[in-house]
């Protein structure tokens, strides 16, 4: 695990990049593992070929994420899942703000990790799912130096949208992102309510932005 964690960053970021944006693709349905393979390769190539990102330019990374990943991620579902039962009681305005702040937090936090991608490759493991499953788990591994890093995706079938599948959760080294944030969000909501959570996220994003 030790050496893995060093490279968890690029993996986390990659996964996040995949989670957060991609341009709409043709409406033909792709198999979920093929889609992940394609997106991962595109993102990795995009990073490796962009010297500005390699130097840590956060705005370029955010642009990459918005451009390449967002359409393939069901971010409302991710945010709803992380917020928990309170989501249903949130106003549309609150929901929108929560999504924005959550997305900013994830991208900005792990932006530095993307810059460290050098020669990693992604291996997509064979898909173990029935043909008519509505939700699947695609398992991949990031291989580079050190131990391979487990990187799994949960996808849901979304016929007619994009490539037919959307990501709604990400697992790095055995830790599911949504669950990890869920317990932190629950703590804030219990203490200060939904608005309190939005406030905390907003403050954190502002201070992260200041750090550049």
């Amino acid at each position: 695990m030790r050496r893995r964690m060093v490279f968890a960053f690029p993996a986390i970021l990659m996964g996040l990049v995949l989670l957060l944006g991609a341009p709409p693709v043709a409406a033909t349905e792709e198999a979920p593992d093929a889609m992940i393979k394609r997106l991962s390769t595109e993102v990795l190539d995009g990073i490796k070929s962009d010297p500005a990102i390699r130097n840590g330019d956060v705005n370029r990374i955010i642009a990459l994420v918005d451009r390449r990943i967002m359409p393939n991620v069901d971010f409302p579902r991710m945010t709803a899942s992380a917020v928990g039962p309170q989501w249903r009681q949130a106003s549309p305005e609150q929901q929108k703000r929560l999504q924005e702040e959550f997305k900013t937090l994830l991208v900005r936090t792990y932006a530095g990790a993307l810059a460290q991608v050098i020669d990693q490759t992604i291996i997509v493991k064979p898909l173990r799912a029935a043909a008519d499953d509505k939700e699947v788990v695609v398992r991949t591994e990031v291989r580079g130096r050190g131990d391979p890093i487990q990187l799994d995706y949960r996808l849901e079938r979304t016929p007619g949208q994009g490539s037919g599948w959307q990501i709604y959760n990400l697992n790095v080294l055995g830790v599911w992102l949504v669950e990890t944030y869920r317990s932190q969000f629950a703590q804030e909501i219990n203490a200060r309510g939904l608005d309190g959570l939005i406030g905390v996220l907003n403050e954190r994003n502002k201070s992260n932005a200041k750090k550049g």
């Binding site: 964690m5 060093v6 986390i12 936090t109 131990d147 990890t180 317990s183 703590q187």
Partner: protein
């Protein structure tokens, strides 16, 4: 996450183990909005704050120095050598868990790396795609049916769970480093072990500062999930979705495969056991 010298550790560990056994027999009660997996939260938070301060003051600078002064090749060699010793213990635990393939893999790893890797300094087995599968005695207990117990943050040693604390003395016995009689050599290796471990987390620490709303909760969650993942060897059964129903406290899920030196025990709250 630091091991102090073997002797001091053992007696502390036994004391923890004894009190652990007493705690394991009863279930903690949930209080208000706290996480049922973490009934000792106030205690854990203060230990976590202490560990964090100690880390900032001592371990992180030491590990940074280690990383900056040692060539990458040397660090990799040290890491491989220590990993090889771990693989021996993983082999023993795989047997205890009746995991034939994992045992065979660990056995092959140890042989290949020791014979062809200059005593473990080169990690030839990983090049040959013989995967490492870490098993420790905490995971063995989990597979045998022992539940996690409460989440506990140990001073200096970091997150753990009751079951893994109880398993600790056995893991110490299985630590081949303890078998080195020459005290100076043994201590040098133990210090190197911890520096190596801490150095590998240096880049992760910054992300934790920025991305986690609450470092304590983030660490607990990540730890417990990783432990659960390790116990089930990468395929944990799904937990039911969180819809706010009250959880049964002290339900345990075990994760096999913590990192070296990190005793992770997960306190899973699960209606599926």
């Amino acid at each position: 996450m630091i091991r102090i010298s073997g002797l001091v550790l053992r007696s502390t560990a036994w004391r923890i183990a004894v009190s652990g056994v007493l705690l394991l027999s009863g279930c903690a009660t949930t209080t208000g909005s706290s996480d049922p997996r973490d009934p000792l939260e106030p205690f854990n938070r203060s230990v976590f704050a202490f560990n964090d301060a100690a880390d900032k003051a001592i371990f992180k600078p030491a590990a940074t120095l280690y990383r900056d002064l040692t060539p990458a090749l040397v660090r990799t060699g040290v890491s491989n050598f220590l990993g090889n010793l771990d693989d021996v213990w993983s082999f023993a635990n795989s047997l205890l868990q009746f995991k034939g393939q994992a045992a065979a893999q660990s056995f092959m790893r140890v042989n290949v790396n020791t014979l062809f890797g200059f005593g473990g300094i080169l990690d030839i087995a990983s090049e040959a795609r013989i995967e490492r599968q870490r098993e420790d005695f905490g995971q063995t207990l989990a597979v045998w049916g022992v539940k996690d117990g409460p989440y506990i943050v140990l001073p200096l040693f970091g997150p753990s769970t009751l079951r893994d604390v109880v398993a600790w003395p056995v893991d110490l016995k299985g630590d081949l480093l303890s078998g080195i009689d020459h005290i100076r050599t043994r201590n040098t290796f133990k210090v190197l072990d911890q520096l190596d471990l801490r150095a590998s987390f240096l880049s992760l620490g910054d992300a934790l500062e920025d991305g986690a709303l609450d470092k304590y909760t983030f660490t607990r969650e990540a730890f417990l999930q990783r432990r659960r993942n390790a116990v089930f060897d990468g395929n944990p059964p799904d937990l039911p979705a969180d819809d706010g129903t009250p959880k049964r406290p002290c339900a345990g899920v075990v994760h096999p495969r913590g990192a070296r030196g990190i005793r992770v025990i997960r306190f899973g709250v699960s209606n599926v056991t």
